[in-house]
């Protein structure tokens, strides 16, 4: 891991080493960091009928003076218009519900895999990872066929005589939660597994031998030991889930409003790049805290 440098002789503290770091560093500064600064800049502009469709911040006045114009109207807009506030609130709620249910569903699965013999762990883990490799879009789309009024679930239940008219389980809040829990489950299972697997299982046996009941062993030994995995998994699910666009759009109803969809619509439907940028800046600000916790946690030996 990030232990001692392997080459300490002067030969390698050289240009070559500098270049090795500089190439990827330059790439990420150009394509990941710089874009955020541009987004922040454009969020202070206003939309215009031009290419690109926003007013430049710096321009020349009639008398030849250099003029810098910063608009904070976009920020006023997103903090006063209830549409944006509702979108932020519902995105946060979606992400929080997703974390809770992926944890409830993922913990037993991760524990089960980690408690198997070494021979079984890799194939079981592969079974969890396979859906993650398979097209996300297609898997979310498949839920439409399962949940719709004449879909798999409703037809089966009607055929069995359990219900006589279809349940409304598509295009509402329920289907959004279901789709999100489904899509983000592997992101929860992997970090949980990697921490549970490293756990000293003899501690569980010791607690058991000393007469603790299973519930108590779990509460007082397993749970505290796997806490770093729970934190890592929750952040790995929460951060991308707040900005999720595809699932609410495909599985949500007409009243489903999320920050991802708000940004998308401002950009693609209204062609208002500055407002879309403002929405993006507000979202990034919201996620800085969770991102820093994640970064610190991974720095101290947690695995993604």
């Amino acid at each position: 891991m990030s232990g001692e440098p392997i080459f300490s002789n002067a030969q390698t503290r050289s240009f070559g080493r500098f270049l090795t770091v500089a190439i990827p560093y330059a790439w990420f500064i150009t394509f990941f960091l710089a874009p955020f600064l541009i987004v922040a800049k454009i969020s202070l502009s206003t939309a215009a009928t031009a290419i690109p469709p926003y007013e430049p911040l710096v321009g020349w006045a009639d008398d030849g003076a250099l003029v810098l114009t910063l608009h904070i109207a976009n920020y006023k807009l997103i903090f006063s218009d209830s549409v944006y506030l509702i979108a932020y609130a519902s995105s946060l709620r979606n992400a929080a519900v997703t974390v809770i249910f992926t944890l409830l569903l993922g913990y037993p699965l991760a524990y089960f895999i980690a408690s198997r013999s070494a021979k079984w762990r890799a194939p079981l883990l592969m079974l969890v990872m396979m859906p993650f490799w398979t097209s996300f879009l297609i898997r979310v789309y498949a839920w439409i066929g399962i949940l719709k009024p004449n879909g798999v679930i409703n037809s089966t239940l009607i055929w069995l005589g359990v219900i006589d008219k279809p349940l409304e389980i598509l295009n509402n809040q329920f289907s959004v939660y279901l789709g999100m829990v489904y899509a983000y489950l592997p992101f929860m299972v992997l970090p949980l597994y990697s921490h549970l697997e490293k756990m000293d299982w003899s501690l569980l046996e010791a607690a058991n031998d000393l007469g603790a009941r299973p519930a108590r062993v779990f509460r007082e030994v397993t749970l505290p030991l796997s806490m770093p995995g729970i934190v890592a998994g929750s952040l790995l699910v929460f951060i991308p889930a707040v900005g999720e666009y595809i699932i609410p759009t495909l599985l949500g109803g007409p009243d489903t409003l999320t920050i991802g969809a708000a940004l998308w619509n401002e950009f693609f439907s209204n062609h208002d790049w500055p407002v879309a940028s403002t929405v993006a800046v507000a979202l990034v600000v919201l996620l800085v805290g969770p991102l820093m916790i994640l970064q610190r946690q991974q720095g101290t030996g947690g695995h993604p």
Binding site: L33, M126, T134, Y182
Partner: protein, 277 residues
């Protein structure tokens, strides 16, 4: 609750979670063979939607673009991700290390919609300033390399952490120059991880919708973009067939990637054991 009951509950919940993960995949494959236009009403077995796919020029063109983008992106991400993973696991401390690891790893979790809009605005600003790049396949590839590199870096870093540094130190002590150590010792040892990383980057690129929608140009519509626009209009039996094919294709890639890792893991450990014995 006694031990036997809790063990039963654990198994039951794990099976439930796995069924949940696989239900949509199974359902889409079954319905892709459904003759009915109605998508979710089963009539009888048919392969006509697969045949229809072969005559859908829009889908075929998009598939070709997607595969081209995925090959280029995966190649770029593998090179860059190997650099990044190697630096993070072997370079120790250097000025700006915290920022570097943050920049490499942030795309793992950063909402795609943020990366999409910010990368596009960069390309637009660059084009306005220096006339490059035009929005087409090249902009998609650059954006995909940026997010897929993180995944390759994680795979490479975790592989490197399993390999004993003393092997590389021995080569250095025996007079190999850093580049020789890297290409003759480190690279062969992490080759399986590079393969997995490449395949992971390939499938992520092939699947990406949100970032691609922002940075693509009018002539570079990818497969997920076509699927998304069709799906938003409602269920489409052709998409079931296409979905089943993608699942098969990516499933094979995933199996190769993970089996290779598991196998190479075992073989790699043996090699190291033999080498250090």
């Amino acid at each position: 609750m006694n031990a036997a009951q809790s063990r039963f509950l654990l198994v039951a919940m794990s099976v439930l979670a796995l069924l949940f993960l696989y239900a949509p995949i199974v359902s889409i494959v079954i319905y892709s063979f459904n003759e009915s236009q109605l998508v979710t009403v089963w009539s009888r077995f048919s392969t006509k939607w697969y045949a229809a796919l072969l005559h859908d020029d829009q889908i075929l063109r998009a598939a070709r673009i997607s595969i081209e983008v995925a090959l280029l992106s995966a190649t770029g991400a593998t090179v860059l991700g190997t650099f990044a993973g190697y630096i993070l696991s072997r370079f120790g401390r250097f000025p700006g290390r915290t920022l570097f690891s943050g920049l490499v790893m942030a795309p793992l979790v950063m909402p795609e919609i943020i990366m999409g809009i910010s990368t596009l605005l960069l390309f637009v600003a660059l084009e306005a300033a220096i006339g490059w790049p035009h929005r087409d396949i090249q902009t998609i590839v650059m954006a995909h390399i940026t997010f897929a590199t993180a995944f390759v870096a994680v795979v490479v870093q975790s592989r490197l952490s399993e390999i004993d540094v003393s092997i590389e130190e021995a080569a250095a002590d025996l007079g190999a120059r850093p580049l020789q150590v890297f290409f003759l010792v480190t690279l062969p040892l992490i080759a399986p991880a590079l393969m997995s990383g490449f395949l992971l980057a390939f499938s992520l690129s092939l699947d990406d919708l949100v970032i691609t929608s922002f940075v693509s140009g009018p002539s570079s519509t990818t497969l997920p973009m076509v699927i998304f626009s069709k799906v938003r209009l409602g269920l489409n039996p052709e998409i079931n067939a296409l979905g089943a094919l993608i699942i098969l294709f990516v499933g094979v890639i995933a199996t190769i990637a993970t089996f290779r890792t598991i196998f190479a893991d075992w073989r790699g450990k043996r090699k190291v054991e033999t080498a250090t014995a």
